[in-house]
């Protein structure tokens, strides 16, 4: 089977710092892949290179067999790469409805039918449990709900690859259980790349785990393999690298 996403020698420097260092990565369609690693390991930078938010210093990104390294972010989104921000970045002054209507109307191909936007918005809001808050301003939602709105916006894009950057940060434990269910459901129709610090969530969801450290891939494997990997334990304890 051909990978949905591949990166080859992907690197990004910030001044003297090599935030992503020569990363070769492959992701199979239908997978839930978790990316873990200590703070500053380069996880957000890596997925930003994939989504096109920032440009690589070198290397390439291949999506569904096509080289997308030169494509602007919006064009990648149209190909099916959706990114949800680590730092919540909903449109605070717009209603919850409008926040989700934006991605929904983008994916509508018929363009005309009046009810289509509303139907799409309500579907995404139902799935994330926000359906009773359509008319609130997004900025008035609790932090946890803003995280869910961020996911709803990603979902509404009908992505083939959904990148979630620390989606459970700030969620209450009760919300996290629902969230795990939600990701499982999303994974039925999309490949999921999940950056996550919360290890129980990772262990519950991930088919495979990739561990980043200091801009490089330190290890990759099934949850059991990663759990048993002493190098990974060292990286998390901070004894090997900075």
């Amino acid at each position: 089977m051909m990978p949905l996403l591949t990166t080859k020698g992907l690197s990004r420097n910030f001044g003297g710092l090599r935030a992503v260092d020569n990363v070769d990565f492959a992701l199979m369609p239908g997978e839930i892949r978790a990316v873990i690693g200590p703070n500053g390991a380069g996880k957000t930078t890596f997925v930003s290179l994939v989504s096109g938010r920032i440009q690589p210093s070198s290397g390439m990104v291949v999506f569904d067999g096509a080289d997308i390294t030169g494509l602007p972010a919006y064009a990648r989104v149209r190909l099916g790469v959706a990114y949800t921000f680590q730092i919540t970045s909903v449109f605070a002054n717009l209603s919850v409805y409008d926040n989700v209507a934006l991605p929904v109307q983008r994916t509508l191909t018929d363009g005309r039918s009046k009810g289509a936007v509303r139907t799409g918005v309500m579907a995404a809001l139902e799935r994330t449990g926000l359906a009773d808050r359509t008319h609130m301003l997004a900025g008035q939602l609790s932090y946890g709900h803003q995280r869910l709105l961020e996911v709803a916006m990603g979902l509404a894009l009908k992505p083939r690859l959904l990148i979630l950057d620390e989606p459970t940060q700030g969620l209450a434990d009760s919300e996290i259980d629902n969230f795990i269910e939600l990701v499982r459901e999303i994974a039925k129709s999309a490949t999921v790349l999940l950056i996550e610090h919360n290890m129980p969530v990772v262990m519950h969801l991930a088919d495979r785990i990739t561990v980043f450290n200091a801009g490089r891939i330190l290890a990759e494997g099934t949850p059991e393999q990663i759990r048993a990997n002493t190098e990974v334990q060292d990286a998390y304890l901070g004894t090997t690298h900075g």
């Binding site: 989504s51 938010r53 602007p72 972010a73 919006y74 064009a75 989104v77 149209r78 959706a82 990114y83 921000f85 970045s89 909903v90 449109f91 605070a92 002054n93 717009l94 209603s95 409805y97 409008d98 209507a101 934006l102 991605p103 109307q105 983008r106 994916t107 936007v117 509303r118 008319h135 916006m153 894009l157």
Partner: protein
């Protein structure tokens, strides 16, 4: 609210248009003439509001779009002897082409740089109009000859110098532009424009080519402003470089701020308000500009969202 029932906003806007129509029959001559002028300039403000209010791009060069319409229409009549409809169309076309070119260049920047770049382009435009004095009349300007300012339909003809014809022409243009802007801001495209204003980076990550969307907005905005300029030349019979000066880039900003940025009726309210404050105070004192300045400062301090923006915020959330 975009998904709220459309009945209320449309009723309100049609009501405003009906009111302006009715006023034509009751206003004394002086105010009748002033209101015609205000409606034409409110179109200028509406064009400005499209870009400033809804997309959040602050241009300091919109005088060039107004003046492109003004000169395009005026000179077509003066030098080429074109009919009023043809001249009007040419004025609008000039604004559309100019705004497309300026948009492509200026949208490489944003924020303060965008303000400066648009101002520089407008200044170049202004100087070129002065330089081409043999064509444009320079700072003296030129009068559009009265006999040419006639709308003919077969046997009947309407003289644009007639106050009622002038008022109704101004109202017709105003109404069309008002309803067009209302339709735009309530559309999906309008939602994207607001999203760009709120967070351009996020809008890109939802799959929108924000450059193209902003460029389209610059063209819509510039074209509306040019329509206002073209109408001004044909209805009031004068073209001159003062309309291309920086003052005429700042005025629409003030009108929009006063009336309420990103409200469809704000531009009319702001233009009306400013004209009448000037009109009333200049009757009492020669220091009227001081009073106008103080009024502006007070408004910005106490109504930072402008008159209609404040009303929407406090009472009428459905106002588009």
């Amino acid at each position: 609210m975009k998904d709220a029932s459309p009945a209320k906003p449309y009723a309100l806007h049609l009501g405003v248009i009906a009111l302006l129509f009715a006023l034509s029959f009751v206003l004394p001559d002086y105010h009748h003439g002033l209101l015609a002028r205000i409606m034409v300039l409110a179109v200028f403000a509406m064009g400005y509001n499209m870009l400033f209010g809804y997309v959040g791009l602050l241009s300091l060069g919109h005088a060039m779009f107004f003046a492109a319409g003004l000169y395009g229409a005026g000179l077509a009549v003066i030098h080429l002897g074109w009919s009023v409809p043809a001249a009007f169309a040419v004025g609008i076309l000039c604004g559309a082409v100019l705004s497309l070119v300026i948009g492509v260049l200026a949208l490489r920047t944003s924020g303060v740089a965008f303000m400066i770049v648009t101002m520089m382009f407008a200044q170049v435009f202004y100087l070129v109009m002065l330089y081409l004095a043999s064509w444009t009349g320079g700072d003296q300007g030129m009068v559009v000859p009265q006999p040419a300012r006639v709308l003919s339909f077969g046997a009947t003809s309407l003289e644009l110098t007639n106050p009622t014809v002038r008022y109704m022409s101004a109202l017709a243009l105003f109404s069309i532009v008002l309803l067009v802007t209302l339709a735009i801001v309530r559309s999906r495209y309008g939602r994207v424009l607001v999203a760009i204003r709120e967070n351009e980076e996020r809008t890109k990550m939802l799959g929108y080519d924000t450059f193209s969307n902003k460029l389209a907005a610059v063209v819509v905005s510039g074209t509306i402003c040019a329509a206002s300029g073209a109408a001004y030349a044909l209805l009031f019979g004068y073209v001159g470089s003062s309309f291309a000066s920086v003052q005429y880039s700042i005025l629409p900003l003030l009108w929009v701020l006063l009336g309420g940025a990103a409200t469809t009726l704000g531009p009319l309210v702001g233009t009306l308000f400013m004209y009448y404050v000037v009109d009333i105070t200049s009757g009492y004192t020669s220091a009227y500009l001081l009073i106008v300045g103080i009024a502006l400062i007070l408004l910005v301090l106490f109504f930072p969202k402008g008159i209609l923006g404040t009303i929407r915020h406090r009472w009428l959330g459905w106002l588009p």
